[in-house]
Amino acid sequence: MSENAEHTSHSQGFYIAIGIGLLVGTATTVGAAFVNLGPFNPIIALLIATIKATLVVLFFMHVKGASEKLTGAVVVSGFFFLAILLTLSLADYLTRSWR
């Protein structure tokens, strides 16, 4: 069992607690959507979504506590290249003289 030590660190209760946290996050997102926060509405929504996604990645997908950093590097690089796609595309769209 020694090689699986990285996965045994959390109890059933811990996973359920994270799950409840995620549900609370969902409720908060829905609630926040009905409050007029101006430009912050989408920011709040995406922030909560990112927190939720991070929880899932770290605890459900066991990236936190993984025995090697490679897994984390793979995840980060995935989002990094997605960010390249989005930002450089927007570099065009946001600087067009019209639109």
């Binding site: 996965h7 996973y15 997102t29 929504a45 995935g78």
Partner: protein, 235 residues
């Protein structure tokens, strides 16, 4: 088939799943896990193309996107989010059960996960039906006369731009639903195999990797929900 110096002999002795070209079970497991993570990266990029299109058009046609978003059922969306989150919990508990060698518990969690996945798809089906009834399916029958009521002001919306919103809605949720269907099928097979006792505390990599896949599908929905359902909901 494997090096004698390996420390995991106890597992391999009763582990028919070890393939010949790996030195030991740990190497095989690490390889499978890395492979799965890399596959998840391809999934991120696959959905990333659609998120890019979404971002560009949301910025260009914000009113139409808001008006389109108003037409989605926020409660069905939220319910589905909750269903997926619960299913992620059952998946992680299934992995834990597999690790502990609790066969019946493992099968139980897998079955619950599949049922939750089916629930999600059913709700999605109802949503799609509603779109058909309201003529919100892009194509020749598409109609969009709803206006976006922001601070009491009527803002008419170009139906073509609203159609763009619904095009992206159907493509993105459709691709997501396709992944859900694949996930349900995967877990069904795994449940049967688990019932037959294929997985031991020394070997449950398929359960783990299918779990990783399911969590990613969950994460994608965690983003899809606010992006599609919650645009400018306040009024």
């Amino acid at each position: 088939m494997h090096d004698s110096q390996t420390t995991t002999v106890e597992h391999e002795a009763h582990n028919p799943a070890l393939l010949h070209h790996f030195a030991d079970a740990q190497q095989q497991k690490n390889a499978a896990s890395l492979g799965m993570w890399l596959f998840l990266v391809t999934e991120i990029m696959f959905f990333g193309g659609m998120f890019c299109a979404y971002l560009v058009y949301r910025l260009a046609h914000f009113n139409a996107f808001a008006a389109g978003s108003q037409q989605l059922s926020i409660w069905m969306g939220a319910t589905n989010t909750a269903v997926l989150i619960v299913s992620s919990v059952t998946v992680v508990l299934a992995v834990k059960a597999a690790e502990a060698g609790k066969r019946k518990l493992l099968v139980g969690y897998l079955v619950v996960t599949v049922l939750l996945g089916m629930t999600f798809l059913t709700v999605k089906g109802f949503e799609y039906r509603e779109k058909f009834e309201k003529h919100h399916v892009p194509g020749p029958t598409f109609k969009f006369t709803d206006t976006f009521d922001d601070n009491g002001k009527q803002i008419p919306v170009n139906p073509k731009e609203a159609q763009l919103f619904f095009s992206l809605y159907f493509v993105m949720t459709g691709m997501h639903a396709l992944h859900m269907i694949i996930g349900c099928g995967l877990f069904s097979v795994l449940a049967v195999l688990a019932w037959k006792g294929h997985y031991t505390p020394g070997y449950f990599t398929p359960i783990e990797n299918a779990g990783l896949y399911w969590h990613l599908v969950d994460i994608i929905w965690i983003y899809l929900f606010p992006l599609l359902y919650l645009i400018s909901r306040h009024s």
